[in-house]
Symmetry: C2
Subunit: 272 residues, 2 copies
Amino acid sequence: MEYCSEEEFLKHYNPDAFEKLSMTTDILIFSVSDKAQENYRKLSEKHFSVLLVKRKDYPFKDKWCLPGGFIKMDETLEEAATRILANETNLHDIYMEQLYTFSDVNRDPRMRIVSTSYMALIDKNQLQDTLSENASWFHIIVLEDKKFFHITLENGAEELHFEVAKKVVDETTGRYELEVIKNDSLAFDHPLVITTGIERLKNKIEYTDIVFHMMPKYFTLGELQQVYEVILGKKLLDPAFRRMIASKVEKTNKTKSGGGHRPSALFQYKKR
Amino acid sequence: MEYCSEEEFLKHYNPDAFEKLSMTTDILIFSVSDKAQENYRKLSEKHFSVLLVKRKDYPFKDKWCLPGGFIKMDETLEEAATRILANETNLHDIYMEQLYTFSDVNRDPRMRIVSTSYMALIDKNQLQDTLSENASWFHIIVLEDKKFFHITLENGAEELHFEVAKKVVDETTGRYELEVIKNDSLAFDHPLVITTGIERLKNKIEYTDIVFHMMPKYFTLGELQQVYEVILGKKLLDPAFRRMIASKVEKTNKTKSGGGHRPSALFQYKKR
DNA sequence: CTAATAGTGTCTATTAGACAGTATGTT
DNA sequence: AACATACTGTCTAATAGACACTATTAG
């Protein structure tokens, strides 16, 4: 059938001309939390953590998964992610970026569902008992080698473990895709989403200022360094770290004391 | 209704419980092409280019757009992109990466369509008249300043122009989103897709080896440098460039001569 | 010889890594 | 005093920027 104008074409358009599917969005909420120390003098150790919720319904009933949900026809993916994040944490104005769109044909047992994941970074301390009751923070422990990620998530009561392989798709450049090879405890393809997010964050912390979204307004350089260390998974040398960070922060006249050692100056993020 | 097992739940699952939409994939095919010089001695100038196709049907009939199409229910987004790329160029085994998923509610006048874009990099010289007839390469000329991208695409016969603003969403870090503010000639939100791709490529060329997907097997360092320059939009100093690239290439015993000047050694990509 | 690109040497400035030292609070 | 972290000085190694120079071809 021929049309002579766009208006005419649209008037006769059959929206069911192409097959349709449902879309969801999953949100990877990362934060850094303190773990109290036995020794009053020692700094509280930092942990990199992710927020999971326990599924109340089928499929994957009673398994842990990332907060997520179906998108509505009158909202963008980003709006859906923001809505779900607010539902789950009661937080607004949170840093969030699109991570990846996962479209494996059988990633959901119910039907064809494509899911776009978002990564959000928050300062967990801003959050005061506003979590929905089926949600819980899990510490992330990452062991990475040439070929695999071995990732353990623990929340004090439960310990979840999965393994993701780096499947090389380009022999010459060494570029790889991720493939879940072991996963007992997480729903859907969420081990993939989490691993993708960890890699992204690890990369971006090096060339952007996103860490500061996980920090309170005032922080010591020691705390900031701990956050870098826990995300990068390695120790950093003090002088090098301070040089690197110098242009991004500014000293305030506040200090933090009471730790059985020299008090530390409090800094804040400095925009350039 | 209560179920006592996942199987039972799935058996009774109504796939229309949630609203559905169609998904498409758009492919941003980048390459670098030679532009012949008047003077036989001068090197042929390189141009950064993108492949566009002219729409044959409504909507946006007769406008240029990125190659793309609807995804089928039995293929992933990546498979759809690969299929469409092969259709359009007859090329296989091409480097491709997911770029971004665009989900504006009204991005398509027909109905709600979410589109995931992919970026492919090819060596245009491998391509010999295998383009589909409504496709054409356009040179990309980018003028970027603090607040805008002014982008011109030209294929010898036509010149398309659009402008994209950097809309700052986070005052402190300077993070911005892209917003099309002028576009007469491209269909859909494709100015956004193209700009997103240009930014991504510009970033990734600095810390990955993806350029080599746009290079022939053997190339001179001068040619390689031109490609970097044309993508980064700035001149590079020879010694610095050669040092930077040194570990990524290896010299072959071939040379390229005939240009009225000292012949150049041919190099190839060296995997690490 | 000349125009044009190919390719190198080297000086300097900046940045990154490493280590050792000093400073200052609490108990 | 002892411990623990805060913070700095400095030496060295590696990297990046800049410029000037030499090399080699076709015509």
